[in-house]
C-alpha cells in the first residue's frame, strides 16, 4: 500500500463519510438520548453502570460489547450503502491499487462510526471511575470492531467481507487470543482484497437473503409513520415512566425474595410496555391518516400492518433492555407480550370510528389484561406470541375491510379543513 495513495483515497472517502456521519449518527444518537433520557433516574443509572461494566470487563463474553459490535455492523451497513457510489465509477481508473482502495474504503466507512467510538470510550472511562474491573484490551478492541464492521460492507469479494465480519465478534471478546485472531483475520481480508476486479463485483446493498424481506416489509412505510409521529414519539414513552419508576423504587427499597422481585419486575415492565405500545398506537392513529391511494399499489394488507407492528416493536423494545439485563427469563416473557401487542394493535387501529382515542375501550382493557396475565403467568405471554401469526392475519383482515373513504371523511376531513 502506498502511503500517498492511501492518504489521498482516504481523504476522498472521509469527505463523503463526514456528510454521511452527520445524517446517520445524529439520528442514532437522538434516538438513544431520547430513549435513555426518558428512563427514570435509577433505571438510567442501572443501565449506564451495566453497560460501562460490560464494555470494560476483562471477561471474554460481554453482552454489552457484543451489542455495540452489532450496532457497529448495522451502522456500517447503512453508511456503506450511502457511500456505495464513491466505490465505483469514474475514480476506478485512478492509479491506486486494489488493496489501497479497499483499505481507504474501509477507513471511510469506519469514519462514520465516531459516535459509537466515543460512547465506547466514555463507558470504559465510566467503568474505571466506578471502580469496576477495566481491561485496556477492551479499548484495543474498539478499532478492530469498527474496522471489521466497516470491512464487512465495503465492496470486495465475499471472502474478504466474510473475513472482516468474523473479526468483529473475535475483537469484541477483547481477550488476548481474540484480539490476535481478529487482527490476523483482518490482515488476511486485506491481503485477499488485492485479488479481484472491482468492475465485476456488485456493490453490496444488503444480503441477497434479506432483499425479499425488504420488499415484504417496506421500510418506506416505517419512515412515513415515524415522520407522522414526529417529536410526539417522545410522548409515547411517558406512560411507561408511570410504571417503570415505581417498579424501580419498589425493587430498590424493599427486600423481596428472588421470586417476588422477579414478579414485580415482570409486572412493572409488562405494564410499561403495554402503556408505550398503546400510547404509540394512539398517536399514530391520530396523526397518520390512512393513505387511500397507496392501497392500489402492489403490496398486501399483511405487509402494511406488519410495518406498523415493526414500528411498535422498535418504539417499545428499548424498555426491554433493563429487564433482559436484570432477569433474562422475565425479559423473554415480556418480549413475547410485546410481539403479541405489536401485531394485535395495528388491527385495532383500523377498527373504530368512535371514541376520543379512536382505539376503543376494549383495546385498552384487552391490552392491560394481556400485560397483567403475562406478568402473573409468563406462559400466557409465550402462548400469545406463538399465536401472533393468527393475530397478524386478523389485523390484515381489518386493514382490508377498512372503508378508507368513510374513515378519512369522518376522522380527518374536519382537521384538514381546519388546517387549510
Amino acid at each position: 500500500m502506498t502511503a500517498a495513495g492511501l492518504g489521498a483515497s482516504f481523504r476522498f472517502h472521509l469527505a463523503s463519510s463526514i456528510r454521511v456521519t452527520l445524517g446517520l449518527a445524529a439520528f442514532q444518537l437522538v434516538l438513544l438520548l431520547v430513549l435513555v433520557a426518558l428512563q427514570p433516574p435509577q433505571a438510567r443509572a442501572l443501565l449506564f453502570e451495566g453497560l460501562a461494566a460490560g464494555i470494560a470487563t476483562p471477561e471474554a463474553f460481554s453482552a454489552s460489547r457484543l451489542g455495540f459490535a452489532l450496532w457497529a455492523v448495522l451502522a456500517a451497513a447503512a453508511a456503506a450503502r450511502r457511500l456505495a457510489p464513491t466505490q465505483r465509477g469514474w475514480h476506478l481508473h485512478l492509479p491506486v491499487d486494489l488493496r489501497t482502495r479497499w483499505g481507504a474504503g474501509v477507513l471511510g466507512v469506519a469514519s462514520t462510526l465516531p459516535h459509537l467510538a466515543v460512547l465506547w470510550i466514555l463507558l470504559w472511562i465510566g467503568a474505571t471511575l466506578l471502580g469496576e474491573p477495566a481491561s485496556p484490551r477492551a479499548l484495543l478492541a474498539l478499532p478492530l470492531v469498527a474496522l471489521g464492521a466497516a470491512g464487512a460492507w465495503t465492496p470486495a469479494p465475499r471472502r474478504v467481507r466474510a473475513c472482516a465480519a468474523v473479526a468483529v465478534p473475535l475483537a469484541a471478546s477483547a481477550s488476548s487470543p481474540g484480539l490476535v485472531a481478529a487482527t490476523a483475520i483482518f490482515a488476511l481480508a486485506y491481503f485477499q482484497s488485492g485479488r479481484w476486479s472491482p468492475r465485476t463485483v456488485r456493490v453490496p446493498v444488503a444480503p441477497s437473503s434479506l432483499r425479499p424481506l425488504g420488499r415484504r416489509l417496506p421500510t418506506g412505510q416505517l419512515v412515513l409513520s415515524l415522520r407522522a409521529l414526529g417529536l410526539w414519539i417522545a410522548l409515547a414513552h411517558l406512560p411507561a415512566v408511570l410504571f417503570a419508576a415505581p417498579t424501580g423504587l419498589a425493587l430498590h427499597n424493599n427486600d423481596f425474595t428472588p421470586d417476588q422481585s422477579e414478579l414485580v419486575l415482570r409486572l412493572g415492565t409488562s405494564l410499561a410496555i403495554a402503556a408505550t405500545v398503546l400510547g404509540t398506537a394512539t398517536l399514530l392513529n391520530a396523526r397518520r391518516p390512512p393513505w387511500a391511494w397507496s392501497r392500489s399499489l402492489p403490496w398486501s394488507a399483511r405487509q402494511r400492518v406488519a410495518a406498523d407492528a415493526v414500528l411498535l416493536l422498535l418504539v417499545a423494545s428499548p424498555l426491554l433492555i433493563p429487564v433482559l439485563y436484570l432477569r433474562a427469563s422475565s425479559g423473554l416473557s415480556v418480549l413475547a407480550l410485546l410481539v403479541f401487542l405489536a401485531v394485535r394493535l395495528p388491527g385495532r387501529m383500523r377498527n373504530s370510528l368512535r371514541g376520543l382515542t379512536k382505539l376503543g375501550t376494549w383495546t385498552y382493557i384487552e391490552t392491560l389484561l394481556a400485560a397483567l396475565l403475562t406478568a402473573l403467568q409468563p406462559v400466557i405471554g409465550l402462548a400469545l406470541a406463538l399465536a401472533s401469526p393468527l393475530f397478524l392475519e386478523a389485523s390484515a383482515r381489518r386493514e382490508q375491510s377498512l372503508k378508507v373513504g368513510l374513515y378519512l371523511e369522518r376522522r380527518f376531513d374536519g382537521a384538514r379543513e381546519a388546517e387549510s
Binding site: 420488499r215 407522522a228 392500489s296 402492489p298 403490496w299 394488507a301 375491510s401
Partner: protein, 208 residues
C-alpha cells in the same frame, strides 16, 4: 367484478349486485354526479374492498392475491391523495420498489412529468395540478398495462391533456386496458372502444 355489493354505511348502499367485465382497450365510464363512478373505480383499483362479491384484475382476486393483482395496475384518483409525510421523490421510489422497477425510473418519470424541480418537496407544497402529476408519474412507473383513471383531465392544462391522450392511445395500441371515468366524453370519446353509463347503481352499455 362478480356480484359486487358495497355500502358506505347502513343507510347508503351504492351497489347491491354489480357485474362488470372490462376488455382491453379504452372504456369510458360516465354518469351523473353521485352515481358512484369514483366508488366503482376505487373498488376496481383495490382502494375499497367490496362488502360482498369478488374483483379480479388480470385474472387474480384483488383481495386474495393482493400483490399479484396490483402488480400491473395503476390508479389515478380524482382527488390527488398523496401522503404529506413524504417528498415526491420518496413517493415515486416507493412505487418503483413495490413494482420491482429500477430506481433510475424515478428520475425518468420526474423528467417526463416536469416535476424535477419539485422532487424534494412534500406534497403539502404542491398545487393540485402538480399533485395530480405526481400520481400520473407514479402511474407511469413500470408502464402498467391496466390503468384506472378518475377524471384524468381535471386540473390539467392543454399540454397535459394532450399527454394523457397520447398515453391512453399508446396503451390501447399496446393491448392494455384503461377504465376511465370522465364527464368530458367529448375529448376522450374518439379513443374509446366502449362507453358505460352508471345509473342507480347499475351499469348500462352505451353505443359509441
Amino acid at each position: 367484478m362478480e356480484s359486487v355489493a358495497f355500502a358506505w354505511d347502513d343507510r347508503s348502499r351504492i351497489f347491491s349486485d354489480l357485474n362488470l367485465e372490462v376488455a382491453s382497450g379504452v372504456t369510458l365510464l360516465s354518469g351523473e354526479n353521485g352515481a358512484g363512478k369514483s366508488t366503482l373505480l376505487k373498488l376496481a383499483a383495490g382502494v375499497e374492498k367490496p362488502d360482498a362479491g369478488t374483483v379480479f384484475v388480470n385474472g387474480s382476486d384483488l383481495w386474495r392475491r393482493e400483490v399479484r393483482a396490483r402488480s400491473d395496475l395503476a390508479f389515478v384518483p380524482q382527488e390527488p391523495d398523496v401522503t404529506p409525510f413524504a417528498t415526491v421523490r420518496e413517493v415515486l421510489r416507493l412505487v418503483c420498489r413495490l413494482r420491482s422497477q429500477p430506481m433510475e425510473q424515478v428520475d425518468e418519470v420526474l423528467a417526463e412529468t416536469d416535476l424535477e424541480a419539485e422532487a424534494e418537496l412534500s406534497v403539502r407544497e404542491l398545487s393540485r395540478g402538480q399533485r395530480r402529476r405526481v400520481l400520473l408519474a407514479a402511474a407511469w412507473v413500470g408502464t402498467p398495462r391496466t390503468v384506472i383513471l378518475d377524471e384524468p383531465l381535471d386540473a390539467m392544462d392543454e399540454h397535459w391533456r394532450g399527454r394523457i391522450h397520447g398515453w391512453l392511445e399508446a396503451l390501447r395500441e399496446a393491448g392494455g386496458l384503461a377504465l376511465v371515468a370522465t364527464h368530458e366524453a367529448g375529448s376522450l370519446g374518439e379513443l374509446a372502444d366502449r362507453f358505460l353509463v352508471l345509473r342507480n347503481g347499475e351499469l348500462r352499455l352505451d353505443s359509441p
